[in-house]
Subunit: 478 residues, 4 copies
Amino acid sequence: MPLMTVDQYKASLRDGRTVYYRGTQVEDVTTHPVIGVAVDHAAIDYRMAHDPKEHALAVVTGPSGSHSRYYHMPRTADDLLQRSALIERATMLGGTLVVLVKEIGSDALFALHVIAAHLDRTKGTGYLPRVEQFYRHCRDNDLAVAVAQTDVKGDRSKGPSQQAHPDYYVHIVSEDSEGVTIRGAKVHTSVSTNAHEIIVLPTRQMGRADEAYAVACAVPANAPGLTMIASTYGGRTGSVFEHPISARHKMMETLTVFDDVKVPWDRVFLKGEVEMAGPLAKTFVEFHRFTAVSYKLPLVDLFVGAGHLMAEYNGILGAHHVRDKLARLISYAQICRGMTREAARECKLLDGIAVPNAELINIAKLYFATHYHQAIAWVQDIAGGLLVTGPGPEDLADPRLGAIVRKYLGAAPVATAEDRLRLINLIADVTTTDFGGYQAVLAVHAEGSIEAEKMTIWREHDVTRHVEYAKWLAGIGS
Amino acid sequence: MPLMTVDQYKASLRDGRTVYYRGTQVEDVTTHPVIGVAVDHAAIDYRMAHDPKEHALAVVTGPSGSHSRYYHMPRTADDLLQRSALIERATMLGGTLVVLVKEIGSDALFALHVIAAHLDRTKGTGYLPRVEQFYRHCRDNDLAVAVAQTDVKGDRSKGPSQQAHPDYYVHIVSEDSEGVTIRGAKVHTSVSTNAHEIIVLPTRQMGRADEAYAVACAVPANAPGLTMIASTYGGRTGSVFEHPISARHKMMETLTVFDDVKVPWDRVFLKGEVEMAGPLAKTFVEFHRFTAVSYKLPLVDLFVGAGHLMAEYNGILGAHHVRDKLARLISYAQICRGMTREAARECKLLDGIAVPNAELINIAKLYFATHYHQAIAWVQDIAGGLLVTGPGPEDLADPRLGAIVRKYLGAAPVATAEDRLRLINLIADVTTTDFGGYQAVLAVHAEGSIEAEKMTIWREHDVTRHVEYAKWLAGIGS
Amino acid sequence: MPLMTVDQYKASLRDGRTVYYRGTQVEDVTTHPVIGVAVDHAAIDYRMAHDPKEHALAVVTGPSGSHSRYYHMPRTADDLLQRSALIERATMLGGTLVVLVKEIGSDALFALHVIAAHLDRTKGTGYLPRVEQFYRHCRDNDLAVAVAQTDVKGDRSKGPSQQAHPDYYVHIVSEDSEGVTIRGAKVHTSVSTNAHEIIVLPTRQMGRADEAYAVACAVPANAPGLTMIASTYGGRTGSVFEHPISARHKMMETLTVFDDVKVPWDRVFLKGEVEMAGPLAKTFVEFHRFTAVSYKLPLVDLFVGAGHLMAEYNGILGAHHVRDKLARLISYAQICRGMTREAARECKLLDGIAVPNAELINIAKLYFATHYHQAIAWVQDIAGGLLVTGPGPEDLADPRLGAIVRKYLGAAPVATAEDRLRLINLIADVTTTDFGGYQAVLAVHAEGSIEAEKMTIWREHDVTRHVEYAKWLAGIGS
Amino acid sequence: MPLMTVDQYKASLRDGRTVYYRGTQVEDVTTHPVIGVAVDHAAIDYRMAHDPKEHALAVVTGPSGSHSRYYHMPRTADDLLQRSALIERATMLGGTLVVLVKEIGSDALFALHVIAAHLDRTKGTGYLPRVEQFYRHCRDNDLAVAVAQTDVKGDRSKGPSQQAHPDYYVHIVSEDSEGVTIRGAKVHTSVSTNAHEIIVLPTRQMGRADEAYAVACAVPANAPGLTMIASTYGGRTGSVFEHPISARHKMMETLTVFDDVKVPWDRVFLKGEVEMAGPLAKTFVEFHRFTAVSYKLPLVDLFVGAGHLMAEYNGILGAHHVRDKLARLISYAQICRGMTREAARECKLLDGIAVPNAELINIAKLYFATHYHQAIAWVQDIAGGLLVTGPGPEDLADPRLGAIVRKYLGAAPVATAEDRLRLINLIADVTTTDFGGYQAVLAVHAEGSIEAEKMTIWREHDVTRHVEYAKWLAGIGS
């Protein structure tokens, strides 16, 4: 099957899925005033494949025909660098917002390959053929795939089987000759409203008693029993002038409820192997953190570009403190970029799959996440108070008011009042509005928390060489 | 005249003022869907005066009768501490948003007293009686007063009289026996849509050639020739459940255009004394930064309270990293508070007026401003991704969806799903939404920029004692 | 007995105490080339009492005659402010190094008063009269008093009675009609080599089984069985030109070994009341952290003064980045000072004793400690590489070399080469040499660790008011 | 000529050079108690070439025979990576202290190649053959080469020819048929006491009037008229137990005085081409900053290794805050390493020479420099107060005291008291002693200042792409 067009993609989403927005069931996600924006945004990945300028990056042609590069299994550091470049490019077109409908699903599929191969080899299970079959299904049909991982968790100090209610983690409630039935709910499921498939992954390490919770599988977005309650956050409708990014780009999260959803055996990728729940969660997350830092690059580059241009428009590009802040923003962007590349170059091969270096990608992600708010502060500092006190497009459109605004806000010689307001609105959209807040929370929480990143760095780093050096210098044990 | 009631205050705003919102003239600011929220918010200052619980703090009774404490001229450190406490209290009731309709005006009036007294004494001008008369007018009629200070500035590397257009700074275009006529525009004018009077102040130091620009005066909000173009930023209408603060509280800024506004002589407080334009701007700003740090206290306290409660709701209050972040948030709040008090206690008396210690209040403000974004990051870290991925009130209201949400998001034993979502929405409102962005930009820019604060600290600090100590220790000059 | 003179103080230290330095027993600490510097430094406290310029601050005259202000029991916030001023002044004279011979002992005595009063009242013990008697002994004889608190601890994850060896915490090994006998060792005991008395305090909370370890008492510095092994760190002898501070000022720490030291009953202040071991440790530490931040003020002031003067000498005072760094150094110093004052003003009365506000003093200390290394970096940045590459005094003294050095390093018009090198050596001494490192480690570790400070802030802060505010704003429970 | 042995290297330094230390002329630098340590340290570069384990990294065999890899002209990114690896390795063997006797000289030679090629091509000068000849001289004779760059500068706000005295920058005072004569002094000249050759480079951009100051050349260390006044900083003699690094490793700086030193024409590489003074200074510095970050890696790795081992010895490796600090130290080290590699990989070819990417190497260096003091604070935090309060080796050697120290400080089961003290002394040596201070000042100042790094980043970064992206998103110019 060929690569889907945008129209084919949209048509394919009218499949009877159960999506609610503000208490009301959504008949057609593609035409919904809020979710429709998310669909249009997701369509970028499909548009790119058919755009001659993007084709070389977006599409891979191999023995099994052409398919999206997202589904290209990484075998080398260069594959990872190309994947990173594609994610960065799509996110640029997405106005700093990751598209994600193929990124996250392929991250999960790669991780499932690694874990299934390990399990089949060490425990004689037969997961790998299932994973490969489902992988080909997604790849060859050019599907959009979401990943439902974070359970609602109940009391976080307790494990899945110790909770007051058995449903606080998604679990298998029964099985028969056809497959298993799962129940529970996942939060923060991104792009699920406009994905074709939803991969279910465990969210944490598990213990002996958690067998029913050690489950990975895939369900179609329109599976019976599957209900998605879309988030109301940031469901803004407004003009492109005022909200140049968020009026056109959106990612939609759902509370994803599995109310006894049946999953056939060939879509079950982990069932009861509690010792691999943690490694599967972790392997997915490392791939996904590599995706994450790749998709952050347009955002941090924008800080540099918008900060520089705003300084020009404000007539303060010569001020020492402005150059100081811009130099720091440049450093911020370049360290994010450099460490992402380094994580690709220092990848590890597991069962023939190139896995980004876990330590380095967490260092990149941690660096990004822990400096993000300061970066915003610098951009806001350069931009000025007009970020939140400026007039609107209707004022510009009015003859008398428009003349006033043009006279007084178009004072700097390098920019018209209109361009200046456009730039201010762009910076506001990315740093002060609901959308800016969404980006900030993503920086802190998406793809795992800051604390998780630090603990991964701590565990992954091989300290032996450094400890030996310290001992040698100190004269210990010599 | 007695202290105005809320109804009297609202009625008094229907005075024919010229306000535009999104290109349309506003007939009645008190009933406008967006500006009306700002009016209701401003009314807090009037409500407090009539609330028996707040009366002692809000009202001062002296020889000239009862009046709002905001208009109480500070004579001692204790007066400043009381003023700070009133600002803090009103801001608490304002949901972390300063009320400002009397705060900022009185800051300007105190500064005008200081500068007028100095000018009259040193140059034989007659400004002080005018200032005193206008001050009594505001105080005795219990007026709401805005301050228009920041000019649009044109090319920032040039002074007022060097600009390509003469109107880039507000200036006197003519004068006659009755008074002066001013032209120009000010940006970022807060609470002007719902103030009675607007005090015009210079925004910077001026040189010999800037005589026409060295002007301070007061005009009624409905003065002929005065047009206010209200900012469209954050003009949200939404439910209190989703936006517990911003659905009820708002501050409104305008582009304030003086299109040949006549000002009678008894309202002119500076005219051509270019050497005092800078000192007047600075004296106002020091009073206003004291107001600023006072009104930041409920916000930083909320970070502590909401962070703590959210950690409880999320079941992570025992985590070391959470306690670490809460301890840092507590420190942040307490240093803001402690240094504000210290600035009051170390005030200086100028012509009998207690002026907050300029060095210390700038240190307090700089500390607040340069740590604000990190504080937000910590609060968001504790709160979790649900800040931007949660369901809405309509989902809770729906019987089937409501049951799902309650089951899955009400898992933690200490809070219902509804309360948890309320708290999440509160934290989102103050850190991630348009309103949160407004607060962040205020942190960086309101009452002067970070760079201005640093340069004031540098200039105000008497380094002599420290240099002498260094010399003594080094053995220099001994 | 009158206040001791410096000579009397020195003579009193020739008392047969057992002190070792580099493996050799020290016959006379006052004449030892390294420890003698510490004795001279300690003498500052005695010299001040007899210096007419310092007398008013250093000496209190009350109904029981004149005595050192260090021993003045604080009853009010003002007492604490005066105590802070005295500590600051003595440390100034001590070249940024705290004198400590009366500071730390009185901190312990105040804490012993509080705990003894509580124990006598609640458990019927008779400790307070003993504490009062010992307090009068110290005060009326004008004694230097050290505090031995930190045990060697063995395995830190275990309590005193759970250690592999019973002596890893100081404990009572026997008792008889005359008193108790203690054994064990304390580390980091400051000024013990030149104190008259050593107060022993518990270092942590204790459990039921730790009765023998819950001991507080006092022993003379020459007590039989008491051995002090002096630290070799920083035992430099050098010229005042090269090391303007450390050639004249030193604090000496010992490993303090109690090898069955007998303590008479009237010097035993805690014995077996395990539940008060923690509170006693904590109460001492809060007094001592107040001392700590008081004695840090000359150091942080010096950063401002030396940084400013160095910028002048280097001809870079006009550079924006230099002013930026100086403004931050000023803020650093003033926040330390302001929060110390605030902790005094917000003190709590316990049994009539004014205890510095524990939350606020920990905030002050944490702020100081966590910004110290950055402050050093700024000062070094301003000072330049000559800090570690400059010539020595012998080069200046040589006719030919001296001429070269004067020609080439005396280039800036505001300072001679000699003064410039003096200032560089001062900054080096306080930021780069052994002494600078000593100050840095003190910043991090003395008077309790950074983590301990954060946890105290977390525990001491009453979060109720803030949580209630969050609930009210969120509409929870209303 | 073969690669020199250590003995040959030392013998070659007895060449009649004029070196002073503390006012006294040094007869033989190799046997001087302080400078001799620097000679031994420098010998590492010679020892490595003859060590079979290091040979492959240290020596390159090409058409012109074997020579030190330091002198291998980088042609590819891989050459730079190998060079970086060699510098890192030598510095490891140097106990975190760079060896530098070939590193810095080759940095200068590479820069001279680039600039000479450019000048000869664009202005028809004949510098390149001279540079190539001198380069072969250094390479083929395996010489140690210092670089004298930083002038004493006088009044920093003025250029070389505007100074009060003509000698504040090194300049040509006369020329004849044989060559030029130079006068002036350079500060901070590292390894000059034990180098064979000293390359003189300009330190800044120059203007039209500065012709005499635009000079680059090379002089032998024993040239008549050349006087070196060695720095007295950190000239410690002590035991390896107490100072495991600084007792064995030292770098020596001099005030390097050119008192009419004659330089033959074939050693003159720039003379009067004022427009290339700045580019030559800059090109050298970019190579040298690449050397710098390469040689910082053992130091930052040591922080990780020593911090980890110390946490183990102290029994606190399980504490959350310790793991947090170690994770941050790991991130610090790995970002330094990753960005250094990225700067090599993104190198630019100039006249066939691979020049490290200027923007990226400055980002690496800035990141290293601005986080160094915090890293030290974390290591000190983990290590504890014993860094500055512990006993000495003589105490351990004494039977009675040694038993006490072993009993009380050897409490943790994983380490003896002796090993624990060895590790503490190592951490003290690198963070708190004169040597630690030397490292800290190097972090801030060596190879250019923090401000210079920021301004280079600002200038080198091509902002066009980011500005275009901002415009495209904002809808500006579309």
